[in-house]
Symmetry: C2
Subunit: 525 residues, 2 copies
């Protein structure tokens, strides 16, 4: 009899969540995005759902065989150009150090944009192959998936969801159409900073001008790079009446990989579910040798440094400066670093190929996180309340760190002007000025003070969509409208015209009456 | 040992919710709004919080003595004019039946607006007395409240929260500044219907024109009625630098008394927490006599009719028509009705002074709810999945029912054109066309499919504000801006002007070069 308790609990959970064994088709993006998607897949798998992942044959990260999912492999030759992006930071630094040549900078920016354009073209070609592959199409048709879970940084999820009329959930921060919110929620440019503008929600007049210009530049870039590719794809496969961006904006739920401890407050939508920090977990025990190293730091504590997976190497002079600065402090340092050993390295610094970042950041001995500002790392720092010394490189990293700086939880350094003294002073400031830690701990408390864990919330809404075949009651009608309709331009023009006509009529009548009266007066006189 | 389990549970709850014995100052609105506020007070009381309610000495509903709260009584003579609003429906019907005289209708509309104006003036005079009463002011000062919980249909909550620098939570659907969302969230008029316009989120061009015009009319009304009163109050007490509507929009959390099973999807804000249906509970057993009556209906089931607390009497001919229609159906009817017994009343109809509405609507025998469309009744109908035959009277009732009609869960009748046949046909349609019930049951399922009960969510966020002294990270900067700044009008004008100047310069240069070339040509020739 006593053994029935777990069963009762399990059946209670089944009643609570109402779905057992749903079928999920996952359309991920490769690289660091996959790390996030996998967290959702693990959770879905553990709740008894059947997950199928669409992967490119040449994927870096997404394995064909996994106990968590079945996979459908699509032949592909393109994808993320690791070499190009790996060397990007060195080229950027070179341009910055050589006196900020604007022409070189524009050229590099153009190269990055064209790199994304070719990535989008490859995505579209891959989708061409998928839609043309009868075997894959039949297998998707026959499987009768309950939901498509997609990363909208790739365009394919929305296409398959439309093609097979399956409800669609996005795991999103960036989309092929820009930042997630900007793709569906009203974003008044007067207090919502555009990604890339490095502004806060409190802007001066000139900052607002900068924000508007950045917005137009971003829209121009999207119109130039992403739109034509996906529009022509839709025209080819679905005819002229299907607009790709409407398909895309029509997603049932947007699981947003941030929250308002990270993001500035801004308008949102009923079908945006914030799951910032969903990948974070309480720290587990460190491996014995690492724990011994951490404990050996005593009262001074430990600094953790990692610049993420994408950028493998910094220029050697930068590396030497950082190592030399580390050598001068009493703290111990754990540095994720794969290049040649810097000559200036101190005894207090441990170089590692890989580190258990979440478990380290959750260790009470960790004082500062030296980071590049990728979303995952910043979220983990918020989760564990560790202040950041930021070395932003590319993409959203400057913006992520800028948000932390505005909230008093991080200090940002420019790699281009960095030397050992600048780095040392900044490190000491974050170590010894207690406001950084206090602010980050406050942010951490706010982040944890939620009625439900972000991962549980995310999975609740995926299962909601499966249970209810979508979430149409949470989706607005906005994206079915043209720009002119959405902004009521036609209505305003009509009303203004009507007003003018009335005004003219009234003036005409008054003038007429006036003349009659005037004539009378003339007669009288 | 076994008795410790509840204690463990209690302390677990305390850890989970982190507050014990907070101090809450409640600034309610009287009448049906108090019914809602009391649900929150009961819950706060049961969780060990200390609640103090500010009440007017002549309050209808809010008792001075209660086991749930302490009260502070403010001398008052004004308040809600029960007689005026009680007779309103009779006057409205008279106007409508007498051939829709627009002039009479405008006159009545004007009277209603002026009635609200005098209510706002009385509110302000009451607040004058509060702020001038040293004893009350000292008692509030000394009590050190953790949060003000206010109904923004009254203006006083925001004033006290500002005066004593206490975090502010609104229990809101309507405010002195219009519908709650329209007071703080972007509301594109192209797909967000303005209250009173009786439109959906899918509008034709002409409907969008109507929506924009209704919006301007509403804003005009607010500017005419509410703004001057509260602005002059703020000027008098806080000086020229404090804008009342900024105080008001600065509330930390807006507990919104609806959700998207009721409302059409629209933009929202991070500090809006939806608690629609928070007052609903699973049905309790009915009193023996009522249960016997309900069971006697057999396979035909029961119809429940109630037109709310405000409108006490319908014109006698309407009442007779309704009673006659009821007499012709095989269902039993329970009718909340306090007037003289209609001559046409059938044996199947039970007249009652009061009915346990929630328990009745939750009874499986109930087939249709004949209702005036007050928010509480509609929420209860959604909660229990009972379709509605609507007889909207005033205020938000037509809009509430219109939403239900658009979702296929209600049929609306116009009291002005109602006769026994029209009523009977409509009743039969809602009874026998299964789509009404199916749609309402679907809405009910969606409403119940939430990760957390609405009341728990509401109390979580009140306690969140108490724990964290507000929720500034969820509040946007928008209301600190002028209209021109918010809409970036200054930035757009500046950029346009710059563009024009550049264009003129370029044209000028080209013309100059052209002339030079032309002159050369002339010389050559």
């Amino acid at each position: 009899m006593h053994h029935s308790a777990p069963l009762v609990l399990l059946s209670l959970l089944c009643v609570l969540f109402g779905v057992d064994g749903g079928k999920v088709l996952v359309f991920p993006l490769d690289g660091s995005h996959w790390v996030n998607m996998k967290v959702l897949i693990e959770e879905l798998h553990s709740r008894g759902h059947n997950v199928t992942v669409l992967r490119a044959s040449n994927s870096w990260y997404i394995k064909e065989e996994s106990p968590l999912y079945n996979s459908i492999t699509i032949p592909n030759t393109g994808g993320f150009d690791e070499e190009f992006f790996g060397l990007l930071i060195n080229r950027l630094l070179k341009i910055k150090k050589e006196g900020n040549s604007i022409w070189n900078r524009i050229q590099l920016e153009y190269e990055i944009i064209m790199k994304f354009k070719s990535m989008y073209e490859e995505m579209q070609q891959m989708m061409d192959r998928v839609l043309g592959d009868e075997k894959i199409m039949n297998s998707i048709q026959d499987a009768k998936y309950d939901v498509v879970l997609a990363d909208p940084g790739a365009g394919g999820g929305a296409i398959l969801a439309y093609k097979f009329n399956i409800p669609l959930v996005f795991n999103v921060r960036w989309t092929i159409h820009g930042e997630g919110h900007f793709a569906i929620a009203p974003s008044p440019l007067s207090y919502v900073p555009v990604p890339g503008a490095e502004l806060t929600d409190k802007m001066s007049f000139l900052q607002r001008v900068k924000n508007v210009l950045t917005y137009f530049f971003t829209q121009f870039q999207i119109a130039l790079v992403a739109e034509p590719i996906f529009t022509s794809f839709c025209l080819k496969h679905f005819g002229p009446n299907v607009n790709y961006f409407s398909l895309f904006q029509d997603a049932d739920i947007w699981l947003m990989r941030n929250d308002f401890t990270f993001e500035f407050p801004r308008p949102t939508m009923p079908n945006i579910v914030y799951m910032g920090g969903f990948q974070c977990k309480p720290a587990k025990l460190l491996p014995k040798d690492l724990e011994d190293f951490v404990q050996s730091s005593g009262e001074h504590g430990v600094i953790v440094m990692s610049l993420g997976t994408l950028i493998t190497q910094l220029p050697q002079d930068v590396t030497n400066d950082i190592a030399a600065a580390f050598a001068q402090i009493p703290q111990k340092v754990i540095w994720r670093y794969t290049g040649p050993r810097p000559a200036t390295l101190g005894n207090n610094t441990l170089l590692v190929d890989w580190l258990p970042q979440n478990d380290l950041l959750g260790h009470p001995q960790i004082k500062v996180f030296v980071a590049h500002g990728g979303t995952n790392g910043v979220q983990e720092a918020i989760y564990h309340g560790v202040p950041i010394l930021g070395l932003p490189l590319v993409f959203d990293q400057p913006d992520n760190l800028f948000r932390m700086e505005a909230k008093g939880t991080a200090k940002i350094l420019d790699l281009a002007t960095l030397d050992r003294n600048v780095f040392l002073e900044a490190l000491k400031e974050v170590l010894h000025n207690s406001s950084y830690r206090e602010n980050m701990q406050r942010l951490s408390r706010l982040h944890h003070d939620q009625p439900m864990k972000p991962l549980d919330r995310a999975v609740f809404w995926i299962e909601f969509v499966m249970r209810n075949r979508g979430a149409p009651h949470l989706r607005t009608q906005s994206f079915r409208m043209s720009w002119i309709e959405y902004h009521s331009v036609d209505v305003i023009l009509t009303l203004t015209a009507t007003l003018f006509i009335f005004a003219f009529l009234i003036i005409y009548v008054i003038r007429y009456l006036f003349r009659v009266l005037f004539k009378k007066k003339v007669k009288c006189a």
